[in-house]
Amino acid sequence: MFARWFPMPMQSTVLFVAWLLLNNSISPGHLLLAAILATAIPRYCLPVQSKQPKGHKPLLILRYFGILLWDIVVANLTVAKLILGKNQNLSPSFIAVPLDMRAELPITILASTISLTPGTLSADVSEDRAWLYIHALDVDDEALLVAEIKQRYESPLKEIFQC
């Protein structure tokens, strides 16, 4: 029943909140509208959504985003410094990160995370989704970087999506 009305509860929630954010009001009228849209839109979009593993452990999710935010702040400052510094001091590098996850959504989130955080940028994923190629702006120790990515981001994601 619930599944039929809210095939994608996650999205529905996001939409519901987003609507209130947009109008920034919690008047009954808007609550009603939000509810309607949050129900209608996902039902309409369902066909164009490919099947993805569900996320679990909401707390873990929140924690993950917390870390992410903090890293973004740090990342920006480091990168800013690098940009303003001398180009000669840069030691850019391509790095292949082995992946333990295969599902599309987690990989996408991981890749995005990497792109948003310290001097790293997801370039591409190997066809078998076993390798994530990233470009780093300035690395001295690749192994360290890879390890950090895997434990700081991949493992929580594996936990969240249970894959």
Binding site: Q11, L15, P28, G29, L33, I41, V48, Q49, E104, I107
Partner: protein, 930 residues
């Protein structure tokens, strides 16, 4: 009831068509009926006319133009009517036997009667404009008659020549008539004839005279316009007999006579008419002698006699005019009979070449005797009608003195002309009927069928009767005609055979003797003539026309390059041309409205914009780069709108720009990636110059406007947006309410564009590039995984946003259009990220229906207001207050905006999704159309 005369014949054109499948005799009879009735009608009317009355009838047509249906019957007209109908009937009888089985007789008779109608119209017209109408009708119907044997090249060419020459004359005539009418303020003949002095006094007289005479001269084949007539001989002989004896060529003569009272009596008249007449008389007579073709000889003799008549009119003497009228009668009779005789000969021997035709007297004595009498009349032998009018003619030439000391020239030239006419008449008689045996004719000659000769007999009879007892036979007719022509008392003249032994008689005798002499030494003359290249007028004319056409072609080809670049350039240059002058009148470009201070953003923004625009211009050959630059321009324009308090514009501009870019990318995939360097430096320089000027003009205009205060109607909108339109977003209220009609039209445009583009795409067959411009194969990763993921995730959000934009549009920036574009873009993003296959059938939407429904909803909203007896698109709104939900607005404008939304989504997706299909197996299939 005069109008019945032409009307009957007009109806008469239908009978032969109706009876074309009956027996030929029946067809001929049914053709003859109505003209005969018309003739009877005329005869009934004639007594009144013979008492010197002029019958006139007016019926209003386009009175504002001085154009009315007006007929006139006086002696002059009566004479011509008798000729037209009388000879016409004889021709019908004659043609019955002349035409062969395979000729479409019905069609022939129809044309003939149509022509007859036209002639009657001319001679009976009381209104000059109406006369002109019939005049043109003769040109057209004669075109049909001459080209009757349309499979023959020379028939077609002869017909076209006649039409062109007489048509040209007709146009000159029209100008003359209009000028005349403009001078007198009327087109009615009675008045025009009465006010001749006014015309002659007017400064426009010379122009009027020349224009009208051109009309008359071309029609009557006067030198130098005579050349078309001989080639009209390609027509069946009955046609020649009719057109070139009594009717068509006489139309010009008729006109000159008709307007004689209004236009004659001046030296200019004398000079123009007499000289033309004389030239024609001589040229015609001379050439006639050298024609080996029977009809050719007759054609030129016709020209010559027409010249004679014209000459007479030119003499500015009433007596001469009488002589002219008399000769009109005589020439009609003998020339008609001669043509018919020639036709018979042609018909029975299969040849018209006088070098082959010899000694026919033995084979067809009856026809021969008829032809000989007629020919003698043509030669002006005593006791025949031709003699009388020629005597009068000589008499007139002798008694005029307009040339002062040189007045003797005219009689001499007249005699020369007469001499040659004797010569060619002699040739006609001797070469054809005597002069040994026929030389290998197609058929052995014999007499024609009985009834074929009757018309000839009648006409020849007339020739003799008139010749013997002129006063008794044609006296009254001539008197009436002449007095009607002169519009006054007749001069003294007698129609007796014997005026004593006077100069004219001597002239005649001289002409007779000399003529025979010339005929005897003709061989030497032929040899002499042969020295001159025989210039074929038809070829000359064809060449002339060809040259004109080629000239037209060249000129047109030079002007019409069929190159878009030239068209656009012309457009811009013309734009500059018209705007230049007023702009130069503006003393001070800067107005006195207080200007805004420039600031950082504006500066940076405009600089960026300019850079981007110039980049587009500089790199327009590297297409992708140009594309990117254009999108920069679009972005900045949007920012400028935002900067100057126009958020709606900013939003719309942004959305539109992205869709445009996507569209351009889709197109670029199939188009060359780069533009070749084609324009020469000169061209580039020129184009740059023009562009800079255009830009300069627009910039100047903009600046001049912006720096001046302006009182507009907009305060009304500001004042009424909330109260009248129910919205605080004035722009949106204008769009969906104050000027909702524009928006309705605008989405219609969008919808139509969708349909049109769909049409374009359906039959499109493009080959897919397998590699990019640098030859690199495309990436194997058709739909990058992460992009697909995120796009899917964004779709709901995007839809939410568009819902948001839509709902707030009435009071805050947004609205149906922008919402529609956002939806469309969000969906297109799915196509881009996931591909057509993935999307196929997943969105339950028929975009074409979407357009239809969108437009329908918009229109329906407009129509709804009819129920409240308000005009189309009258808006309605109210504030509802529901429990829980609270107070909210409902407005008809929102329903309208929904229509906008749907149309936009439909059109955009119809375009883009179908365009996407181009490259996939989803190609639209041929065949099914609706």
């Amino acid at each position: 009831m005069l109008y019945w005369i032409p009307l009957l014949t007009l109806l008469g054109t239908l009978l032969p068509l109706a009876t074309r499948n009956w027996s030929r005799t029946a067809c001929a009879w049914s053709t003859a009926i109505l003209p005969a009735v018309a003739l009877i009608l005329v005869v009934i009317q004639s007594p009144a006319v013979f008492q010197g009355n002029t019958l006139v009838e007016h019926y209003p047509w386009v009175t504002q133009l001085g154009l009315e249906i007006a007929f006139r019957l006086d002696g002059y007209a009566l004479l011509f009517i008798f000729l037209i109908l009388g000879i016409g009937l004889l021709i019908i009888l004659y043609a019955r036997y002349y035409l062969s089985e395979q000729d479409d007789m019905g069609r022939f008779y129809a044309y003939l009667i149509l022509f007859m109608t036209a002639m009657l119209g001319i001679v009976m017209s009381e209104n000059l404009l109406q006369l002109w109408a019939f005049w043109e009708l003769t040109s057209i119907s004669s075109f049909l008659l001459i080209s009757f044997w349309s499979h023959k090249t020379d028939a077609r060419k002869g017909a076209r020549m006649a039409l062109t020459v007489t048509g040209m004359g007709g146009l000159a005539l029209l100008a003359g008539i209009l000028l005349l009418g403009d001078t007198l303020g009327t087109f009615n003949l009675t008045e025009i004839l009465a006010r001749g002095d006014e015309i002659r006094a007017s400064g426009r007289y010379p122009i009027i005279l020349i224009l009208i005479l051109i009309g008359a001269f071309t029609k009557s084949a006067q030198f130098p316009f005579h050349f078309w007539l001989p080639h009209a001989m390609a027509a069946p002989t009955p046609v020649s007999a009719y057109l070139h004896s009594a009717t068509m060529v006489k139309a010009g003569i008729f006109l000159v006579g008709r307007l004689y009272p209004s236009l004659s009596g001046t030296d200019l008249w004398f000079f123009l008419v007499t000289s033309t007449g004389t030239a024609t008389l001589l040229v015609g007579a001379y050439i006639a002698l050298f024609k080996h073709d029977l009809k050719g000889l007759l054609a030129f003799s016709t020209i010559s006699h027409l010249g004679l008549i014209m000459l007479l009119f030119g003499l500015n003497s009433d007596l001469a005019a009488v002589a002219a009228v008399f000769h009109i009668i005589n020439h009609a009779t003998f020339k008609a009979s001669l043509f018919m005789a020639a036709g018979i000969i042609d018909h029975e021997t299969g040849s018209r070449d006088m070098r082959k035709l010899n000694g026919l007297w033995r084979y067809m004595p009856h026809t021969a005797s008829l032809a000989i009498v007629a020919a003698l009349a043509m030669a002006g032998v005593p006791l025949l009608n031709g003699f009388l009018s020629k005597e009068m003619f000589f008499n007139e030439t002798v008694h005029q003195s307009s040339l002062g000391a040189l007045s003797w020239m005219l009689p001499v030239l007249a005699t020369v002309g007469a001499t040659f006419s004797v010569a060619y008449s002699a040739r006609f008689i001797h070469d054809v009927f005597f002069n040994g045996e026929p030389i290998n004719l197609p058929r052995t000659p014999h007499e024609p069928p009985r009834y074929m000769k009757i018309p000839v007999e009648i006409l020849v009879g007339v020739c003799i009767l008139v010749g013997m007892a002129p006063a008794w036979v044609v006296g009254d007719l001539l008197n009436n005609a002449s007095s009607a022509l002169l519009q006054g008392d007749l001069p003294e003249y007698s129609l007796s055979l014997w005026h004593g032994f006077n100069i004219p008689l001597m002239m005649s005798i001289t002409a007779l003797i000399l003529g025979l002499v010339i005929y005897n030494i003709r061989e030497r003359l032929f040899a002499f003539q042969a020295k001159f290249a025989d210039r074929d007028a038809k070829l000359e004319f064809e060449r002339l026309v060809q040259l004109t056409v080629e000239a037209a072609n060249n000129l047109y080809a030079r002007l019409e390059t069929n190159r878009l670049q030239n068209y656009v350039l012309t457009l811009f240059i013309f734009t500059l041309a018209v705007t230049a002058w007023p702009l130069m009148q503006i003393a001070e470009t800067t107005g006195d409205r207080e200007q805004l201070p420039p600031d950082w953003i504006a500066f940076g923004g405009i600089l960026t914009l300019s850079l981007a625009a110039i980049m587009t211009l500089v790199w327009h050959r590297k297409r992708v780069i140009a594309l990117i630059s254009v999108s920069v321009v679009g972005l900045i324009v949007a920012l400028i709108f935002a900067r100057f308090s126009a958020p709606d514009l900013a939003l719309t501009q942004l959305a539109v720009e992205v869709v445009t870019i996507i569209l351009l990318m889709l197109a670029l995939f199939f188009l060359p990636q780069s533009t070749p360097k084609e324009s020469s430096p000169g061209v580039v320089f020129r184009d740059l110059g023009i562009s800079i000027m255009v830009g300069g003009v627009m910039a100047t205009l903009a600046f001049a406007m912006m720096t001046r205060p302006l009182e507009t109607i907009s305060d009304f909108f500001t004042a009424n947006a909330k109260t009248g339109g129910g919205g605080t977003n004035i722009v949106n209220v204008i769009l969906v309410d104050f000027r909702g009609f524009d928006t309705l039209g605008e989405i219609t445009v969008l919808g139509i564009a969708g349909l049109g583009i769909y049409k374009l795409i359906r039959r499109m067959r493009l080959s897919l590039p397998t590699a990019d411009s640098s030859g690199r194969a495309w990436s194997s990763d058709t739909h990058p995984m992460m992009l697909a993921m995120v796009s899917q995730a964004l779709l709901p959000l995007a839809l939410l946003v568009s819902a948001y934009i839509f709902l707030r549009g009435h009071n805050l920036p947004g609205g149906g259009f922008i919402a529609g574009l956002i939806t469309a873009i969000a969906l297109i993003q799915q196509y881009i990220a996931n591909g057509v296959f993935f999307m196929k059938g997943k969105l339950r939407l028929d975009y074409q229906y979407l357009i239809g429904w969108g437009l329908l909803i918009a229109v329906a909203t407009g129509l709804a207001s009819w129920m409240f007896d308000r005009p189309f698109l009258t808006s309605w709104f109210d504030y509802l207050n529901w429990p829980v939900v609270g107070k909210f607005e409902v407005a008809s404008a929102m329903v309208f905006d929904l229509g906008v939304y749907l149309t936009v989504v439909g059109a955009t997706l119809l375009i883009l999704s179908n365009l996407g299909k181009l490259s996939t197996t989803e190609r639209p299939t041929e065949g099914e159309n609706i």
